[in-house]
């Protein structure tokens, strides 16, 4: 039984290291050109369409997808390297990240050929942005309580209802959403949901921004009123979205974005502490680095499992559970350790600004993408307890 919980010590192959150098060089150029400031995670505008296009031009979007759709047929491990370097540099990835990680793979699996040919190459070029429409006002963790209806009509469906917490909906060109196509059955309360591709910026959709406690606007309420979706925008099986949604999760839950979101405060702490730390600072840094290293080794290992064609749902849930709890604690631990940093530390202001933002960011980390409690339920099922 514990055999399922082995994280083999996968090493990134040589070609990944070459790629890493390319990504670092690219990011250094972007930083020099003023595209973004790596020391300033709380930028006013994290949407950077031109940057997305340049990342696309490098061939770093849809990297693992077939060439005929604009992909590069490269490995998950190579994609992993690109993701982590972008994340560590605080690059503005908001516009392309969801499409690259999640929406593209869903389309690859479930969309009709004409749609794949149309949309996937544009994702690869960094031209379009995707949003995910799962949550609703009374349906978050309990996805199967979703009520927004898709009613059959001539040549398609009419959508009525509200999605909420939809990240990037205000800039998105498309959304992949689940809607209720029939009521749940007695035997299966998961039945009756269907996945759709939704073209945004059409009549019948209203996007209302929702402010976050960080002071930023990232997610939105999306209201559908008799919004028309054509038949060929149904993704996969009608009424069967529950089967599809769960296999997607390993991609969403195990990547470097699940433990690196507040990483910048650790670098800045090391800078503030300087080359000769006192015992307290040294120990604090050592423990944080040991944890970070372990998280990353687990995450790389899951990327290796994906590369091998496995569906490591439980392993990915473990990575997201421990990883997000860690990235949530990180700013608080750094604050703790920074208490005695010299007033004269040259980066003190940067560190304080970063801590302010990271502490405000922290509460969301264990919620987005599936709450800690839900993940522990999945792990418990994997252990045979449910």
């Amino acid at each position: 039984m514990t055999a399922a919980l082995r994280f083999d010590p996968i090493r990134l192959p040589e070609k990944c290291e070459r790629l890493r150098k390319e990504v670092r060089a690219f990011l250094a150029e972007e930083i020099a050109a003023g595209t973004f400031d790596p020391h300033k995670p709380n930028r006013e505008d994290t949407d950077a369409p031109e940057f997305s296009r340049r990342v696309g031009a490098k061939g770093w979007l849809g990297m693992t997808w077939p060439k005929k759709y604009g992909g590069q047929e490269r490995s998950f491990l190579e994609r992993y390297v690109v993701t982590e370097e972008m994340r560590v540099a605080n690059a503005p990835t908001r516009r392309f990240f969801v499409a690259d990680r999640q929406s593209g793979p869903v389309l690859l699996k479930y969309a009709p050929e004409n749609i794949k040919m149309d949309i996937l190459p544009r994702i690869c070029r960094g031209e379009i942005c995707f949003a995910i429409g799962m949550s609703e006002p009374n349906s978050g963790s309990d996805l199967f309580a979703a009520k927004t209806r898709a009613t059959k009509t001539d040549g398609g469906y009419l959508i009525n209802g509200t999605k909420i917490w939809t990240s990037s909906a205000h800039i998105a060109d498309y959304m992949i959403a689940i809607f209720r196509t029939s009521p749940p059955t007695k035997e299966n309360r998961r039945h009756g949901l269907t996945q759709f591709l939704v073209k945004m910026k059409q009549p019948g959709i209203q996007v209302n921004p929702i402010g976050q406690i960080t002071g930023q606007y990232e997610f939105n309420e999306v209201v559908f009123t008799d919004f028309f979706v054509p038949d060929d925008h149904v993704l996969g099986e009608v009424d069967g979205a529950w089967k599809q949604a769960t296999s997607e999760l390993a991609y969403e839950r195990s990547g470097p974005e699940r433990f690196l979101e507040t990483y910048y405060v650790l670098t800045e702490l090391v800078r503030a502490v300087g080359p000769n730390p006192d015992t307290r600072s040294a120990e604090g840094i050592g423990r944080l680095v040991a944890q970070l290293h372990t998280m990353r080794r687990m995450s790389v290992s899951v990327a290796g499992m994906l590369e091998a064609g496995k569906e490591p749902v439980v392993e990915a849930s473990i990575v997201k559970d421990i990883g997000t709890v860690w990235e949530q604690q990180l700013p608080h631990r750094v604050r703790d350790l920074a208490a005695f940093v010299e007033e004269t530390a040259t980066n003190r202001e940067t560190l304080e600004r970063q801590l302010d933002f990271a502490i405000k960011t922290a509460p969301k980390l264990t919620i987005q993408g599936g709450t800690t409690e839900v993940l522990r339920g999945i792990i418990a099922r994997g252990l045979g307890l449910r």
Partner: protein, 354 residues
């Protein structure tokens, strides 16, 4: 690790299953299980796995030896297997032939030092030496004026103050007072006490990870047997979440330990990257022993707090193993210094190098 095609691990697991059943051992107040187990392990050549054929060992790879230690952790065996393996490995670093029988290594703490005098005698004190009382020989790392030497010492030449660690295993203080070694040679260039501590730390990490795997197994099993409030306790969400966290700690410990073992097995030297791996493994596994062990006891209720139950064989040993070859506090300070010294902008490149 523990792939079924690993003959070393397979052999060991068979011996453990036959001769190291935790419940049998737990009931045996006279410790009469120890002799047959030790006998079988040495006859199979496992105790000297890391010693090449020409130096008296069985010449298994480093990787196989590490996997064997993980299996030993899963059975929480309390014979000086890891210690004898480490001692044989240390002696082999200086091409000294390993003798038969139980061994252990000195020093077992980064803070203790054994010195080599001009007349070739060894002096110094080593605390917390695991199984010193059971050992026939010590493999000793000593500092002389020409650098580091490795020596084989007859255990009866040392003064031993017996002690017990948290897990009730021998952890003794050994004093060498101008002791003439059986054999002594200079260590290979660049080999130092830190290397020995990192190697010992990774051995302990694998044992801790193994003990956590077993704690997870028996806790899941128990939760599916014990009934309270008219249902199995495994059906309570709070219990499920505790077990999910235990699974996470166990997985993290195993991931850190196997990654460090893999790093040492494939590295040419103990460079900064190997240091990161080995120190992190000891830190992370020690933290997992604390958090995971607490959950395993919580799930077992009072029964797990009794001497009759086998849980303490894993939980207390995992806690005790934290102290050997540098505690997590020690390694955290050292790793923190290394990171600070390399500078802020070198932190990510170091982590990403693995």
């Amino acid at each position: 690790m523990a792939e079924s095609d690993n003959i070393v691990v397979e052999t060991a697991e068979k011996i453990f299953a036959d001769l190291a059943d935790p419940q049998t051992i737990n009931n045996d107040r006279k410790d009469s299980w120890q002799e047959p187990l030790w006998q079988a392990l040495s006859e199979a050549g496992l105790t000297l796995s890391w010693v090449p054929d020409d130096l008296g060992g069985s010449g298994a790879s480093l990787a196989d030896g590490f996997a064997l230690l993980n299996a030993a952790g899963r059975f929480a065996v309390a014979v000086p297997l890891a210690e004898t393996m480490l001692a044989g490995w240390l002696l082999a670093q200086a091409k000294i032939t390993s003798p038969d029988g139980e061994m252990t290594v000195l020093p077992a703490s980064p803070r203790d030092r054994i010195t080599l005098d001009a007349d070739g005698a060894l002096s110094g004190r080593a605390r917390g030496v695991p199984f010193a009382k059971a050992a026939k020989h010590f493999a000793v790392l000593a500092h002389g004026k020409d650098g580091v030497s490795i020596a084989l010492v007859d255990a009866s030449k040392g003064r031993i103050e017996a002690g017990l660690n948290v897990g009730y295993d021998h952890s003794d203080t050994v004093t060498l007072d101008k002791v003439q070694p059986v054999a002594i040679k200079p260590a290979a260039k660049g080999f130092d006490q830190t290397n020995l501590m990192l190697m010992g730390g990774v051995a302990r990490s694998l044992q801790i990870a193994g003990a956590l795997e077993s704690m997870l197994d028996i806790s899941v099993r128990y939760s599916n047997e014990r009934v309270a409030f008219e249902k199995k306790i495994s059906k309570f969400q709070a219990v499920q979440h505790n077990l999910a966290r235990l699974a996470g700690e166990s997985a993290a410990a195993l991931a850190a330990a196997t990654s460090a073992a893999d790093a040492i097995a494939s590295a040419k030297s103990f460079n900064d990257e190997v240091y990161l791996e080995a120190a992190s493994a000891k830190i992370r596994c020690a933290e997992a022993a604390e958090k995971g062990g607490a959950i395993a006891h919580q799930v077992h209720g009072a029964i797990g707090f009794t001497m009759e139950h086998i849980l303490h064989r894993y939980s207390l040993r995992a806690l005790a193993w934290r102290d050997d070859f540098g505690s997590e506090s020690h390694w955290a300070v050292e790793l923190g210094k290394l990171v600070a010294n390399r500078g802020a902008d070198e932190l990510w490149p170091l982590v990403a190098s693995r």
